[in-house]
Symmetry: C2
Subunit: 419 residues, 2 copies
């Protein structure tokens, strides 16, 4: 099976044809003829760009979108989120993740890194929707050694079972946070990650509370503690990282870990402080962008979060030149975080994950600067076509099965909220 994309625009390259064979971009050039029996995609008035990477989310929380906004954090968790989550079945997670995939596809995300329960519910949903995800079993062992042992067994078991899925499902370890996982379990995960070369996805330094608790308990700040347990490595990506100080950033840079900023969630939950982008960028720390779950955002449209990210960083630095559009765009496509993505440049030899964006929409007219338009003016509604692993998974914004997904998600969300 091959694809012939006709007359797409690529920034800095101009009008080109793109040839895709199996799951690989074979060639890109202005006058390329199709391979025999190619499927043709007309891309007149379209821009071809790499897909976006969502570095941190809890996908199935789509079912809880708008369920208790504007509440104090602990009241929200205790009276809304935790009781609803306690009722979540694997089938709920499956349908919630399908709704999330649908929303991400419609807004250009080809791969997301998830942290939630019910591994197989998530993996099955992603497998069927045709995009990519990093998926793990979220680990929390506040209940003590028995809970820790259960999670260790589950981690090992899922690691073996994950071979049943395609390469689009990537196994990742998901310890929830340093305040919900014991030192012993974190060390165990560090060994597991090293031995099996598995990435580690963890919340770090989201709130002041976390920092002060860590200082009280371990006499070091969170990044130093994570390093002490062996988890600050090039295989680790840290969600949030709002309250990192200069020494922690030095350490993260030295150890090669990746930071995933979640600007909308951080503002909405009012965690105080703003992700230290300029300080992290200065140290060449790999950086990606995440939406966090829809209960604290409430969308999965990275185009919108991308704009908020650029705006809030300019504000933080009191400098309108901070995080210019091209840098923000590169971060959204995963170009600044090799650990998290697959293809961040369209070129021959790369895996064929890409988007065709509509260039003729009124909200991005006129086009003085295409990348500025994508960052500051577009929403995910500019995404027309998505190709993942060489396969067209969405065209003309149509994804097969949408009606059924919306119907099931509505039913299940209603039941979860109603109790």
């Amino acid at each position: 099976m091959s694809l012939w994309i006709h007359n797409a625009w690529i920034p800095n390259q101009g009008q080109v044809n793109i040839i895709i064979e199996e799951n690989i971009i074979k060639a890109i050039g202005p006058d390329l003829a199709p391979l025999p029996d190619s499927h043709r995609l007309d891309a007149e008035h379209m821009v071809a760009v790499p897909g976006l990477i969502n570095g941190h989310t809890h996908a199935a929380m789509t079912l809880l979108r708008g369920y208790g906004d504007d509440m104090p954090l602990m009241e929200w968790l205790e009276t809304r989120i935790w009781p609803a989550e306690a009722r979540l079945s694997e089938e709920d997670v499956y349908w919630g993740t399908k709704l999330a995939c649908l929303e991400m596809m419609r807004s250009g995300t080809v791969m997301f890194h998830d942290m939630y329960w019910n591994y197989h519910g998530i993996a099955r949903a992603v497998e069927e929707m045709g995009i990519r995800a990093g998926v793990g079993a979220i680990m929390i062992d506040v209940a003590g050694p028995d809970q820790a042992n259960t999670f260790k067994k589950l981690t090992q078991q899922l690691w073996e079972e994950t071979s049943q899925y395609s390469s689009r499902i990537r196994y990742e370890l998901s310890p929830h946070a340093i305040y919900t996982v014991s030192t012993d379990s974190l060390r165990w995960l560090a060994d597991f990650s090293e031995k099996n070369d598995v990435p580690v996805h963890i919340h770090l330094s989201e709130t002041f509370q976390e920092v002060s608790d860590c200082l009280k308990k371990y006499s070091v700040r969170p990044a130093h503690y994570l390093n002490d347990v062996g988890l600050l490595t090039p295989r680790t990506f840290l969600a949030h990282g709002v309250h990192l100080d200069d020494e922690e950033l030095d350490l993260i840079a030295e150890k090669g870990a990746t930071l995933v900023t979640n600007p909308v969630s951080n503002l909405k939950l009012a965690v105080g402080g703003i992700f230290p982008y300029s300080e992290a960028a200065k140290r060449n720390i790999p950086i990606a962008l995440g939406t966090d779950g829809t209960a604290s955002n409430n969308t999965l449209d990275l185009f919108q979060d991308l704009k908020t990210f650029a705006l809030i960083q300019k504000h933080a630095d009191q400098d309108p030149t901070t995080l210019p559009a091209q840098d923000a765009w590169d971060i959204a496509t995963g170009a600044r975080a090799p650990l998290l993505g697959v293809t961040s440049t369209l070129a021959a030899g790369e895996v064929a994950d890409l988007l065709l964006l509509r260039r003729d929409l009124l909200e991005i007219t006129p086009e003085h600067d295409l990348v500025s338009n994508l960052v500051y003016a577009a929403t995910g509604h500019v995404v027309d076509t998505m190709i993942v692993d060489g396969r067209v998974v969405m065209q003309n914004r149509h994804v097969p099965g949408e009606e059924e997904i919306l119907h099931e998600a509505r039913q299940r969300a209603h039941k979860l909220a109603g109790g």
Copy 2:
């Protein structure tokens, strides 16, 4: 001519029919039959809400969208914006305003308050597009008394000429700012506003520079100076108001002026500081929301700015309960700023300005809380139908003439940038 809207949902009222006769909502209720010869609008799966009010913009700057982002403020103004604006003809402003109206209609804005040059270019565009605008001749007299006299004459002349337009065009005085208009001219405008009962639209306290210059020149802060020249009245609305202190807020509350916050523009231009929402709200100061021009935003979609507004205020207060969704929504519809809008509640007897929003879109599924969804999850893409002054000006997102507007705007934008 009458309209019968069938089966719309209104928050807190439920499923209703709406009867509109001429430009007035005649009745709203669950089982209302249509008047004879009514035009029927099916609103199954739609929500009826008041239209949004954009309290501060420079509409024709759509032609400069993305033309020089991420630059230092003065370099941006001096090398990009001002040279391009010097080349703007009335026809450019007419087409740029049409593009802006189109974008605002597609994202639910029924009325905007503009500050730009070429009054008739703006007024003609709005008149033809069918929405509402407050329009004035922007006044700047830094060149001295001759320039001041020219503007005074123009202000008087346009005030007489504005009767040629429908009631959808509202005449407003638009002194640019306290640092670009002389004390004498500001006093003249204050008299004009009082004598003719005309609203006044002015930038106030956007940057630190403005505050410190005002203190240096007049020994008082901007709101006090504005009061001294007679312009702080219930007819005045102040765009930005970022750097207002408590005493200024007290004075604004006492005098009854309205504040228009422009959160996206303030962050993008990195003006430092955040609009003091909670302090203003505590004093019951009327508050509206604005996009500012697309050169500093870069969209006119108030749904997006509404979310940024709520997020940044939570951040500023370090409190997730600040500016809950319903309050943010009310501000976007003009319900908290009577000076700026026409209809902010759907009820019998009100002028028929309203929207039908799609309730079945994936990005606002599920619906645990409709208003939360509109504020935190929706973009302007949820807007299906717009009715202004009893007339359907957009249905199924279709606005007549879109192709021509995009074509003309592209041509003119290209010429402006190219020189």
